[in-house]
């Protein structure tokens, strides 16, 4: 068993620790970036799909197709498509950019459904009252719908974030130096696979579990109060 202890000590060399921490940061950054941009784009899509102006009908169709499509394609496949499609458009794009674009494409599709459900959860009666008061769509959104919708949006959005941290592991395939890639590097450096990947699993756990707990806590709190 002394072999394991020695290995563990070698594993936690300053070099390795810093390396893994940096990779953890990358994973976190990819997740946050994807979720933030995906949220904004997703909300735009959700709003677009709910607009009533007739000239927006083709846009609504495209948005609907987009969401249904990208929720049913594996993230790995999206990564590959973006990887090869981005060549002709932007040949100097970094691996990180490729991963980020793929993340945003996926996140937008999922988050637009989550945001949409939140928007729909506000009773239409209030929306009609706002319409009758001449508030207009934008102000109705800002003062009436969003303040009430975010309670329905937040818990599933956090659940999505948790799912997403795990999905970023696939970006390791692109060579992005995130947590999973770091694991492979460690193993290449001679760390025992079980130890190396075990450590990586713990790192993911450290990132994901607090978020899961936060989501559960928020879900309980938001279910009760209304304001």
């Amino acid at each position: 068993m002394s072999g394991v202890l020695e290995q563990a000590r070698a594993l936690f060399s300053q070099d390795n620790v810093l390396f893994v921490l940096a990779a953890m940061g990358r994973t976190l950054m990819m997740t946050l970036l994807g979720c933030a941009l995906g949220f904004i784009a997703g909300m735009l899509l959700a709003l677009l799909r709910r607009s009533t102006r007739s000239y927006l009908a083709p846009v609504r169709l495209i948005a609907a197709v987009y969401v249904e499509l990208f929720r049913r394609i594996p993230f790995l496949v999206i990564l590959f498509i973006v990887l090869f499609a981005i060549g002709p458009i932007a040949p100097d794009a970094s691996l990180f950019t490729i991963a980020a674009v793929s993340i945003c494409l996926l996140a937008t599709a999922f988050l637009s459904e989550i945001v949409g459900a939140g928007l729909d959860s506000v009773p239409t009666t209030q929306v009609q009252a706002a319409e009758a008061l001449n508030l207009g769509r934008l102000r109705t959104l800002r003062y009436v719908v969003l303040p009430q919708a975010w309670r329905v949006i937040l818990p599933p959005a956090i659940a999505f974030g948790v799912m997403f941290i795990k999905d970023t592991a696939l970006a390791s395939q692109m060579g992005v130096v995130e947590l999973t890639f770091a694991g492979k590097v460690l193993v290449n450096r001679g760390v025992a696979p079980a130890l190396g990947f075990g450590l990586i699993l713990l790192c993911y756990f450290a990132l994901s579990y607090p978020l899961t707990r936060l989501g559960a806590h928020l879900e309980r709190r938001l279910a009760t109060s209304r304001h």
Binding site: P123, T125, Q126, Q128, A129, A130, E131, A132, L133, N134, L135, G136, R139, Y143, V144, P147, Q148, R226, H227
Partner: protein, 243 residues
Amino acid sequence: MPHLDIEEICAQYGDTRVLDAVSLHIERGEVVSVIGPSGSGKSTLLRVLMGLTPPTRGTVRLEGSVIDYRSRASMRSARARMAIVFQQYNLFQNMTVLRNVTLAPIAVQKRGPLEAEQDAIRVLEKVGLGDKLSAYPDELSGGQQQRVAIARSLALRPEILLLDEVTAALDPELVQEVLCTIRALARDGITLLIVSHEMSFVREISDRVVMMDAGRIVEAGPASEIFNAPRVPRTREFMRRLG
């Protein structure tokens, strides 16, 4: 010129014709009540006037100028002069009573916040809720919420107020307080178009009463005539059934 001139308005839900060539002229300051059995199109008429349901045919003129229900600009200017109170109050649950009332004046009419607040407080005191300014809708009774809804529409200083069965969702004890409020509005001279089941109230407050059935106006006339000596058999039958 009539304040509100409704001419041959038709409306449909899918295949059903909910409003069939409804015509009505309402003078300034008049209190007109619409009565009739459920499904006769009374509420739909109010919704169509506010542009919440599009009419398929017919014209509505507000003091002579036509309201184009397909143009947002036209709808906006019409809604600046007309207001509606719904049966389900439809208050904004995420705001206090005061905010519910000041939101539209500040955001839409661009009135200064202080002025809007003072105005709102005045209106809320008028409906008897001056002490509930910072309460949230779910802390209020049905009658109180409905009075806030009335205050909210009054804050925009509309010329015409549409009241859609505003006491129907209330417990009987709470109905009176709302009726009191409406009586005060009628005294102030605002033009009122009321859809209601409260027959004694309708009789007391209305200048004219309109009876609707199956999307059509069956009979219209002064309150005393409709209640005491209705001419159309359908009206008589309706009155009789009310006992």
